[in-house]
C-alpha cells in the first residue's frame, strides 16, 4: 500500500510542477504589467500602477501594427477559407486512388517549417518585382492556413450524407442550388470555426511573417522588436490585453462548438 501512496505523492508533485510551469510565466508576465518598475518584473515590487496601459494606449506604432494585423487576418480569411474549402471538396470528391497523393500535397505546407514557407514566397515574388509587405504576408500565411481549413472542412464533410444531394437533385434543384442550399449550410459550422482559427493563426504567426513582412510590422513582429528596442511593461499591458482577447475568443469558440455539438446530437 505504501508504494501506491508514494507513487501517488510523486504524481501529485509532478502534476503541481507541471501546472506551475504552465502558468507561472503567464502570471508573472501579467502581474508585471501593474508594477511601476521600468523593466517588467514582479520582484522587487515597486508599487501598483495602471500607467503602462496609458502608455500603451498612446503608442502610435502599436496601433499601426494592430491595424496591419487586422488587415492581414481579414484577407487571410478571405483567401484561406475558400481555398481550403475548395480543396476539401475536391479531395472528398475525387477518385480513391488520386486522393492519397492529393492529400499528401495538400498537407505538405503543414510539414514545412514556417520560415521556409516565408522564404519561398519571398523568392517567388521577387521574380516579378514584388517585395515583402502586407500582400506577401497574406499569401504566405494563407498558403499553410488553408491546410487547417481543408482539414476542418474535410472532417465535417465525412459526416455528410450524400443522398441529401441526390434528394435535392431529384427534386429538381440545379447543382449550384444543391451546393448553396444543402452542402454549404451543412458546412457552415466548420467554415465559421475555420475562419476563427485562421484569424488566430494569422494573428499569432511569427516565423513565416518575419521573412515576408518587408517594412510592414504586424503585432507579433512589433512585440518581438520591442524586446530589443526597450522592453517596458507597456508590452506586458499589450500581452495582457491580447491574452484577455484570446481567452474570450477561445471561450466564445468553445461555446459555439459546444452548441453545435448539442444541436447535432439533438438532430
Amino acid at each position: 500500500m505504501s508504494a501506491g501512496r508514494l507513487s501517488r505523492v510523486v504524481f501529485g508533485v509532478y502534476l503541481t510542477l507541471f501546472f506551475v510551469y504552465l502558468f507561472a510565466p503567464l502570471l508573472v508576465m501579467s502581474a508585471a504589467t501593474f508594477n511601476t518598475s521600468r523593466f517588467p518584473t514582479v520582484i522587487p515590487w515597486q508599487g501598483f500602477t495602471l500607467s503602462w496601459f496609458v502608455e500603451l494606449w498612446r503608442d502610435g506604432a502599436m496601433w499601426r501594427s494592430v491595424r496591419v494585423s487586422i488587415v492581414v487576418a481579414f484577407f487571410v480569411v478571405l483567401v484561406a477559407v475558400p481555398v481550403g474549402t475548395a480543396a476539401a471538396l475536391v479531395l472528398t470528391s475525387v477518385h480513391e486512388r488520386a486522393r492519397g497523393v492529393l492529400y499528401g500535397f495538400m498537407v505538405s505546407p503543414l510539414l514545412t517549417p514556417g520560415v521556409v514557407v516565408g522564404i519561398a514566397t519571398l523568392i517567388l515574388w521577387r521574380q516579378v518585382g514584388v517585395g515583402g509587405g502586407i500582400f506577401l504576408i497574406i499569401l504566405a500565411q494563407s498558403s499553410f492556413i488553408a491546410c487547417y481549413v481543408m482539414l476542418m472542412v474535410a472532417a465535417r464533410l465525412q459526416r455528410f450524407d450524400r443522398t441529401q444531394e441526390e434528394a435535392a437533385l431529384g427534386l429538381g434543384a440545379s447543382k449550384f442550388m444543391v451546393f448553396r442550399r444543402v452542402l454549404l449550410p451543412f458546412l457552415r459550422p466548420a467554415l465559421i470555426a475555420a475562419a476563427f482559427l485562421a484569424v488566430l493563426q494569422s494573428f499569432e504567426n511569427y516565423n513565416t511573417t518575419l521573412f515576408v513582412r518587408g517594412l510592414d510590422t504586424p503585432l507579433t513582429i512589433f512585440i518581438a522588436s520591442k524586446v530589443r528596442t526597450g522592453l517596458t511593461p507597456a508590452v506586458n499591458a499589450l500581452a495582457l490585453a491580447m491574452i484577455a482577447l484570446t481567452v474570450l475568443g477561445a471561450l466564445a469558440y468553445e461555446i459555439f462548438r459546444h452548441r453545435q455539438k448539442a444541436r447535432a446530437t439533438a438532430g
Partner: protein, 355 residues
C-alpha cells in the same frame, strides 16, 4: 401513356460486375408497381437508372413516352424517396417540402402555401416550423413523401422507405401509402425486399434476382402461379418435393417423386423425364388422408402462431415439410412425434423445371 414508365432492354455493368441485365417492362399510368428482390439483386440500381442518378450501359428508359437518355435527375418528371429519407436536417419541415418548388422558381408565399397544403395531406398540419430532427420516424416518413409530392411528379420512386420503421408503424404506413397513391393517381415504383410489403400494396410486382426480372404479375398471380423456382421460393413459404416428369397432359404434370407419384399444374417449358420440383404452399397441405395427392411426414414440432399453427415435419426422403393449420382447425393438428398423413389438391401445386 402520360405517366407510364417503359424500360426497354435496360442493362447496367459496373466494371466487371453485371448489376442489371436485359430488363424490359412497362409500368402503366397510375399503377402501384413494386420491384421485389433480395438485397444485391439490382433493384436499387434499376430505380436509380429510372431516377437518372445512373446512366444505363444499355437500353432505354421512357417516361410518358419520352426518352430519358442524357436527362439529369433534376430534369426528369420523377421524384425519389430514399431509404434514409435524406431530409435536409438544417431546413424546417416547411422548407424541406418547399425545396422542389424553390428549385422551380416558385415565389416564397406560394411555396409555403403549397407546403402547408401538403402538410395537411400527410396529416402533419402545424409541424411546418419543426426541424426534421424533432420528428418521430413516422412523421419524418410523411415529410419525405410530402416533399416528393410537392413537385407534382408523374412518377414517384420509393427505395425501401419503410425499412427503418418498426413493424406496427410499417403496417400502418403501408395502408397510408396505398391510399395516397390512389388519391393522387401518381405512378409509384416501389423497391422492397419485403414480400409482405410488395404483396399488400402493389397492383403488380416484378420479382428480381441476380440482375434479371424473373416474373411480373399481380400479387395473387405471383403467389399462386410462380413461373420460376426463385419466385416460388422467394414469394411466400413453400415446400419442395424433387422428382422427374413422368407424364404431361392437359396442363397437369405427373411427377415421380421419392414419395410416390404426385400431380401438379405444369410450369413453363416442361418435358417428360425432366428433373423438376413440385412446389406446395404450407396452407395447401391439409392433415389427413384423401384428396388427390397424399404424403406422410414425421411431425417434429408444432408452432402456434395465433391465426394458424405451423407443423414442421420430415418427409420420408429426409426433406423438411411445413404445413399451416388454421387456428379454427387446430383439433386436426397431428401430435408431435407421430407419423401423420397430409394431402393436397393438384390445383394447389406447381411443377417447375430445376434451374
Amino acid at each position: 401513356m402520360s405517366r407510364s414508365v417503359q424500360l426497354d432492354r435496360v442493362g447496367m455493368t459496373f466494371g466487371t460486375t453485371r448489376a442489371v441485365s436485359d430488363v424490359t417492362f412497362t409500368v402503366e399510368d397510375g399503377e402501384f408497381f413494386s420491384i421485389l428482390g433480395p438485397s444485391g439483386c439490382g433493384k436499387t440500381t434499376l430505380l436509380r437508372i429510372v431516377a437518372g442518378f445512373l446512366r444505363p450501359t444499355e437500353g432505354t428508359v421512357l417516361i410518358g413516352g419520352r426518352d430519358m437518355a442524357g436527362l439529369a435527375p433534376n430534369r426528369r418528371p420523377t421524384a425519389m424517396i430514399f431509404q434514409s429519407l435524406a431530409l435536409f436536417p438544417l431546413m424546417s419541415v416547411r422548407e424541406n417540402i418547399a425545396f422542389g418548388l424553390e428549385a422551380r422558381g416558385v415565389g416564397k408565399a406560394e411555396r409555403s402555401r403549397k407546403a402547408d397544403e401538403l402538410l395537411d395531406v400527410v396529416a402533419l398540419g402545424g409541424f411546418g416550423d419543426r426541424k426534421p430532427g424533432e420528428l418521430s420516424g413516422g412523421q419524418r416518413q410523411r415529410v419525405a413523401i410530402a416533399r416528393a409530392l410537392a413537385v407534382e411528379p408523374d412518377v414517384l420512386l420509393l427505395d425501401e422507405p419503410l425499412s427503418a420503421l418498426d413493424l406496427k408503424l410499417r403496417q400502418h404506413m403501408r395502408a397510408e401509402l396505398r391510399a395516397l397513391q390512389k388519391r393522387t393517381g401518381v405512378t409509384f415504383i416501389y423497391i422492397t425486399h419485403d414480400q409482405g410489403e410488395a404483396l399488400a400494396m402493389s397492383d403488380r410486382v416484378a420479382v428480381m434476382s441476380a440482375g434479371v426480372v424473373e416474373q411480373i404479375g399481380a400479387p395473387q398471380d405471383l403467389y399462386a402461379n410462380p413461373q420460376t423456382p426463385f419466385v416460388a421460393g422467394f414469394v411466400g413459404e413453400t415446400n419442395r418435393i424433387a422428382g422427374r416428369v413422368a407424364a404431361l397432359a392437359g396442363g397437369i404434370a405427373t411427377v415421380d417423386t421419392g414419395l410416390g407419384p404426385m400431380r401438379g399444374r405444369a410450369g413453363p417449358g416442361l418435358a417428360e423425364g425432366q428433373a423438376v420440383k413440385l412446389y406446395v404452399r404450407p396452407e395447401a397441405l391439409t392433415p389427413g388422408t384423401g384428396g388427390e395427392n397424399s404424403l406422410a411426414a414425421r411431425v417434429e414440432r408444432v408452432d402456434f402462431e395465433g391465426a394458424f399453427a405451423l407443423a414442421h415435419g420430415r418427409l420420408a426422403d429426409g426433406e423438411e415439410m411445413i404445413a399451416s393449420i388454421p387456428a379454427t382447425r387446430l383439433a386436426d393438428a397431428p401430435g408431435i412425434g407421430t407419423e401423420a398423413a397430409f394431402h393436397f389438391d393438384t390445383d394447389h401445386a406447381v411443377v417447375l423445371a430445376d434451374a
